[in-house]
């Protein structure tokens, strides 16, 4: 074991004595699918928290790990899964920055634990060679040992340890085997110095490395990094030396940059050659046998459709019961608060702004939980990569990556987790294209709108006597979103996001029985992130919207009798004859609800509706729908509660409440004609499919792209498409004689 140059000892390596007085920081690194999550959960239990790294939505998972009962628990930082320290994705960049101490929020780790999958040693050890080069104290946690044993692979952990020069601890997370040994090894490793990289380059390249060391690189590792990484050193002298060295090397071999990669693997083969016994089974294993069916030419796509159908079914029907319960609970809470608080603005703010706002966030929780249950299940089992494998060719047709499939599928529940899930896509342009089309997938928030429109105008309407038109319309709306998304993706990828088709280098991990604990943890952390991230925005918007609909207030609170006159007065002022309006008003002019209707008309939101009317009239919408549209830009489903207020049926109604459906059917325009017709309803649905009416999506895109440019672009272009499509629907329908 030779290394040509010894690195000087690191200045920031903690002294062994100091370690007892302050909290240790341990980083958990490893390849994706290496069993890192299971080990993290086993080590920290429930003592974990998830946050975000600033500026990007890479999750920052941290927990407390009791290394020794006498010591304060260590901070265990779970790094995103990575194959290499030469960052290709944001995840890998973040992991590298933490490991090298470049991340401000996380101190450089005292010890790095590298999780290595025993069934896939060689590729997993590649990251270990790079971690050794990084020079932090390192311990290997050998995972999946039970699986390796089952496939008759015998791994000599001690032999591996002495070959690598660092401790190797076999772990079975499920039975907690090896966790204590791991804790002891980590404590012992504090302040240690791992051996230098043991692999060597060709004599020619080694000579260049030595030359760079002589020219001012602080260590052999630094010299290697200077020579082969993308970044050049800042120091002009060192930079010149590196450029000269690269020129010499590339002159004799254009593939000179491959040398360290090949050399690392050659060294790994040497290490594993001595430490692994047993038959290296080259026959197809159980995973490959399962794949004979799962990725079969014919059965594969069918299974994929089935899986999608189950996920959809769950999100759309199983989730409705808990959603109704949450909805009703918040309605009841609002009523209770209203009953026990004095009538006034504060009560209104609490009930209509805060409670309704919080309820509006939490109502999505069942869907988010279910979606992440399935995503975690599919990811943990290994199916998700197969789905990407199956659809990649299709996705590439529009210039997208197979990995875009899952984010887009998630967006059918909600674009927010979908957009969050795009971070696995490495190329920024592909990622951006996926983000920009994700909101076209009909999310669950559009459902109340579709439901209301269909319930009001298309119940029991059948095509050819047996095909229910409502179901047909619902399906068409989903298809419309998908078709427009495909067209837009194609246009984006051929114009502003022009790039060659993204490469696909995707691991198909072995099938494993998903761990229920991991799935539950994922559901918990993801849903909490949603509540926090989207919740704050939705709550703010909800309060803002409440203010828009509440102010300005009339100086004297109108008594029920005077109120109707005020409403008529208001309509005269705005040039509308109030004949049609007064009928439903008198019919329902019972105190509060009528008050609200009048209040809404004179509020900022109401005035905005009037201002908008000329603009939206070609789409078939009147000013009341305009108010609904304004409100729906906060979150689509708010149009239902807004319409309830506009039509004076009280706001605690939902899309299926008979009073609202009745009010929509009976609503009249000033000339007495019905405000809503089936054609208007379809036009409205088309608008809702295509417009980006969701502040939370805008907020998430802002975070993901780190600029206002893309979210604003997204809102604008989607609005244009929605307007044009709605216009074509309504005007075209009228030309065809539909109403």
């Amino acid at each position: 074991m030779s290394s040509i140059l010894e690195s000087p000892p690191q200045a920031d390596a903690p002294a062994g004595a100091g370690a007892e007085t302050r909290q240790l920081v341990v980083a958990l690194a490893g390849n994706p699918n290496a069993g890192k999550t299971s080990i993290f959960n086993a080590l920290t239990g429930l003592r974990q928290k998830v946050a975000n790294y600033p500026g990007v939505t890479v999750e920052r998972k941290e927990g407390l790990w009791t290394l020794d009962a006498e010591l304060p628990p260590a901070r265990l930082v779970d790094l995103p899964g990575l194959y290499s320290l030469d960052a290709a994705s944001i995840d890998e960049e973040i992991a590298r920055d933490i490991l090298t101490g470049r991340m401000e929020e996380v101190p450089a780790p005292d010890v790095v634990v590298a999780v290595v999958d025993a069934t896939n040693l060689e590729r997993n050890l590649y990251l270990v060679t790079q971690l050794l080069e990084a020079g932090r104290p390192l311990v290997v946690a050998l995972s999946m040992v039970d699986l390796a044993e089952r496939s008759k692979l015998e791994i000599d952990a001690d032999g591996l340890s002495s070959a690598l020069g660092i401790p190797v601890v076999p772990i079975t997370a499920k039975t907690k085997r090896g966790l204590d040994e791991l804790a002891r090894a980590v404590l012992a490793a504090v302040g240690s110095k791992p051996p230098c990289a043991l692999w060597r380059l060709s004599p020619k390249a080694e000579a260049e490395v030595r030359r760079l060391y002589a020219a001012g690189a602080p260590s052999r590792e630094e010299a290697l990094r200077d020579l082969y990484s993308d970044e050049l050193p800042a120091d002009p002298e060192r930079r010149a030396a590196v450029e000269a060295a690269r020129a010499r090397l590339s002159g004799s071999d254009p593939q000179w940059w491959q040398e360290p990669l090949t050399a690392r693997y050659r060294w790994i083969e040497e290490v594993t050659g001595g430490a692994v016994r047993g038959v290296k089974d080259e026959r197809p294993g159980s995973t490959e046998r399962i794949d004979r069916f799962v990725t079969h030419r014919f059965f594969g796509p069918i299974l994929l459709l089935l899986v999608m159908a189950v996920v959809f079914q769950a999100i759309f029907s199983w989730a409705t019961l808990p959603m109704d319960l949450i909805d009703r609970a918040f309605g009841a809470l609002g009523e209770a608060v209203r009953a026990h608080m004095p009538v006034g603005l504060l009560t209104d703010l609490v009930v209509d702004g805060v409670i309704a706002g919080v309820g509006g966030v939490l109502v999505f929780l069942p869907q988010i939980l279910l979606l992440f249950f399935f995503i975690a299940l599919l990811e943990d089992s290994g199916y998700m990569s197969r789905a990407a494998f199956l659809v990649d060719r299709l996705m590439r047709g529009v210039g997208l990556h197979g990995k875009a499939f899952m984010p887009l599928l998630s967006s059918f529940a909600c674009a927010i987790p979908g957009i969050m899930a795009t971070r696995t896509i490495e190329n920024p342009k592909d990622r951006l294209a996926t983000i920009l089309i994700a909101p076209f997938m009909s999310c669950s928030a559009r459902l109340p709108v579709y439901t209301l429109m269909i319930a009001a105008f298309f119940t029991d309407v059948r095509l050819f006597g047996f095909v229910p038109v409502g179901v047909l319309l619902m399906l068409s709306m989903y298809l419309l979103g998908i078709v427009v998304a495909i067209v837009v993706a194609w246009i984006l990828k051929h114009t502003i996001l022009k790039a060659p088709p993204p490469p696909l280098v995707l691991e198909l991990p072995p099938y494993r029985v998903p761990s229920l604990v991991n799935v539950l943890y994922t559901m918990r952390t993801r849903s909490w992130l949603f509540v926090k991230r989207a919740g704050t925005v939705i709550l703010t918007i909800s309060i803002l919207l409440w203010a828009l609909m509440t102010f300005p207030r009339s100086a004297v609170k109108p008594v029920p009798d005077a109120q109707e006159g005020a409403a008529v007065q208001e309509m005269r002022e705005t040039g509308l004859e109030g004949k049609g309006e007064s009928a439903p008003l008198t019919a329902k002019a019972e105190g509060d609800t009528a008050d609200e209707g009048a209040q809404l008309q004179q509020s900022y939101a109401g005035r905005l509706g009037h201002v908008l009317e000329p603009l939206i009239a070609p789409l078939g919408f009147d000013w009341k729908m305009g108010i609904g549209l304004v409100a729906s830009f906060a979150a689509r489903e708010t149009i239902v509660s807004t319409l309830s207020i506009v039509y004076n049926v009280g706001k605690d109604t939902n899309a299926e409440s008979p009073s609202l459906i009745e009010a929509v059917r009976n609503a009249k325009r000033p000339d007495g004609s019905p405000a809503w017709t089936p054609l208007v309803a379809v036009s409205m649905m088309v608008f809702f499919v295509l417009a980006c009416q969701c502040m939370s999506t805008v907020a998430v895109v802002r975070r993901e792209t780190n600029s206002w440019r893309w979210p604003l672009f997204m809102v604008a272009y989607m609005l244009v498409i929605a307007y044009v499509a709605s216009f074509v629907t309504y005007q075209g329908g009228k030309l065809l004689g539909l109403s």
Partner: protein
């Protein structure tokens, strides 16, 4: 320098020669499903070639094409002891030499 290292280097040299002269050298996308082979060269450059090599597709690595996806692309390849999906366009940049059966 250990013996194993020297031996590996010799093997790679032999494989490299096979890549330029031997009739058995083909690109990975042309490899028949089920045939065992060894990588002789990764001819691409840039991020994709680097990622392929980081994932273990380096000269000397054992590979076998398992199958292609239902629409003919991408390919599923067994590399070292795991399965990797890659597009035909990427597989074209990888030269392999078939093992004697």
């Amino acid at each position: 320098m250990s013996l194993a290292y020297a031996a590996a280097e010799q093997i790679v040299e032999v494989l490299k020669r096979a890549d330029t002269a031997g009739p058995a050298a083909v690109s990975l996308d042309a490899l028949e499903a089920g045939r065992h082979a060894r990588v002789t060269a990764v001819r691409g450059s840039g991020a994709v070639a680097r990622r392929l090599m980081e994932m273990g597709v380096v000269p000397g690595a054992p590979v076998r094409v398992v199958k292609s996806a239902p629409l003919g692309d991408p390919l599923e390849v067994r590399v070292r002891s795991y399965h990797l999906a890659l597009r035909r366009s990427e597989a074209q940049t990888v030269s392999v030499v078939m093992n004697d059966e």
